[in-house]
């Protein structure tokens, strides 16, 4: 593997980070769209969508980009963070009391939580698809895993449901700061559209996670 990106300047890394982050945010919308099909009593929409996502070649290409995006976003995030920790070898006795938005300081931690969720999530669905893992429920007649039932099965376990909700909230927190930050990193900061960006970011980081959370809640009631 070529590690030359390690030598990229800090701003180049940031630009990649935000581009990939924004790309992931678009993906989250798409993913939510599919997930909302779970709300239907009839499993065909969801399973069709899952089937389409699993077989279409365009989507397969995107899948690679998506995985690459995740890996890169995470890797660069970690690299930047390691450097940031090193840039102040002697810490302050009194922690900074500068008034800044609370969650902005914890991106790496919220990111890490999202990462853990991602792994669990992949294990639950993607591994089955790849055949690395036995599906806990019977497959569909066409041989593909029945993700509709998998999802319902998972949400029927309270532990998983709570975990899922917590993770999604953390993701929301990650996104809450991310959106505005990504624009800033890309050099888009202008007083005439800053507030729109900010509002959009807030709306996105509330609506999307709410959408995801809606599903287990819906099942509960």
């Amino acid at each position: 593997m070529n590690f030359s990106f390690l030598r990229f300047s800090s701003i180049t890394k940031k630009i990649w980070m935000s581009l990939l982050g924004l790309f992931l945010m678009v993906f989250l919308i798409l993913h939510l769209g599919i997930n909302l099909c779970l709300l239907r009593k009839d499993p065909t929409w969801f399973n069709d969508a899952a089937y389409f996502m699993g077989t279409n070649y365009v989507i397969k290409v995107f899948e690679v980009i998506l995985f690459g995006g995740f890996i890169f976003h995470i890797l660069v995030g970690i690299i930047l963070q390691l450097r940031n920790w090193r840039s102040r070898p002697v810490r302050y006795k009194i922690n900074p009391r500068t008034d800044t938005p609370f969650f902005t300081k914890y991106m790496i931690y919220t990111g890490a939580v999202v990462f853990i969720f991602l792994v669990i999530h992949l294990m639950n669905f993607y591994f089955i698809k790849l055949g690395w893992k036995e599906s806990p429920v019977p497959s569909l007649p066409n041989g593909h895993p029945d993700f509709y039932v998998v999802a319902r099965w998972l949400f029927s376990q309270p532990f998983y449901t709570v975990l899922y909700i917590v993770f999604i909230i953390v993701l929301g927190v990650h996104l809450y700061h991310s959106f505005r930050a990504a624009f800033q990193s890309l050099g888009l900061n202008h007083k005439s559209y800053n507030s729109s960006i900010e509002t959009f970011g807030i709306v996105y980081s509330i609506v999307i996670p709410l959408g995801y959370i809606l599903i287990p809640i819906y099942y509960l009631i």
């Binding site: 630009i15 102040r88 800044t100 890309l186 202008h190």
Partner: protein, 246 residues
């Protein structure tokens, strides 16, 4: 007013430092923070102890020398000021005040509260200028500069290079400082010809010196005594992107 001061004392760059506690009584509330330290130093001299070393010169918030991290905030508990403009009326009688030097890898401590900020000069030397030699400039009004551009440029140029942005940033990032200089020139027609090279070189130097990266917490903007906006950072990112792909 009476105060308990916990001050970082460090003999020299190599020595190990520690906090030393001092009690100070009957300080006027109109006294500036540095004048309060002057009073402390006067007392130390009388006890034949070495006075607390800190950087200061102009004492009116413009030279950028004073640099104290007071109770968790660069330049202390007030906005839009430098330490020398901080007054004791911002504290309560009996307060405990912890005073630390700026902390960042590129700002090593020289003695007590004095740090070495020549890293900033090194960044400017990379490209913080317009390559014009003395003599031969065209008439000052030959190139018209829209008032708005001049004003924005001045907003950025107001930076005093104190380093509060680095001190405040959880990543010890120098983005606000560097972007202020990049923006100052990028906004002027005179600065355009060298804009790409300038931003590339200055950013490379900033990275090389060991400053951290920006994670958009915007603490720098809050602590900047000259209220320089993080929009300068966005401008620098934009300039940088252009320099790479444009």
């Amino acid at each position: 007013m009476d105060f308990t001061l916990k001050i970082w004392r460090q003999k020299n760059a190599k020595a190990k430092g520690k906090f030393v506690t001092y009690n100070l009584k009957d300080v006027s509330s109109n006294c500036s923070f540095l004048e309060m330290l002057d009073i402390l130093n006067e007392q130390l001299v009388h006890q034949n102890e070495e006075p607390v070393v800190f950087d200061t010169d102009c004492r009116e918030g413009i030279c950028g020398l004073c640099s104290l991290y007071i109770n968790g905030r660069p330049h202390g508990p007030d906005d839009a000021i430098t330490t020398c403009q901080l007054h004791m009326r911002k504290f309560k009688d009996g307060d405990i005040i912890v005073v630390e030097p700026w902390r960042a890898r590129p700002f090593p401590v020289i003695k007590d509260l004095m740090v070495d900020r020549t890293a900033f000069d090194a960044i400017i030397q990379e490209g913080g200028f317009i390559s014009v030699n003395t003599g031969g400039a065209p008439d000052a009004n030959a190139i018209i500069i829209p008032k708005e551009a001049a004003e924005l440029s001045m907003d950025a140029a107001a930076c005093i290079g104190c380093g509060a942005c680095v001190a405040a940033c959880k990543n010890a990032s120098a983005m606000l400082f560097v972007s202020a200089k990049v923006s100052h020139f990028a906004l002027l027609p005179q600065g355009k010809p060298e804009a790409k090279e300038r931003v590339r070189k200055m950013v490379a130097k900033m990275d090389e010196l060991g400053f951290g990266n920006c994670t958009n917490t915007f603490a720098c903007e809050v602590e900047c005594p000259k209220l320089i906006s993080v929009s300068t950072i966005a401008r620098m990112n934009r300039e940088f992107l252009w320099a790479k792909i444009g």
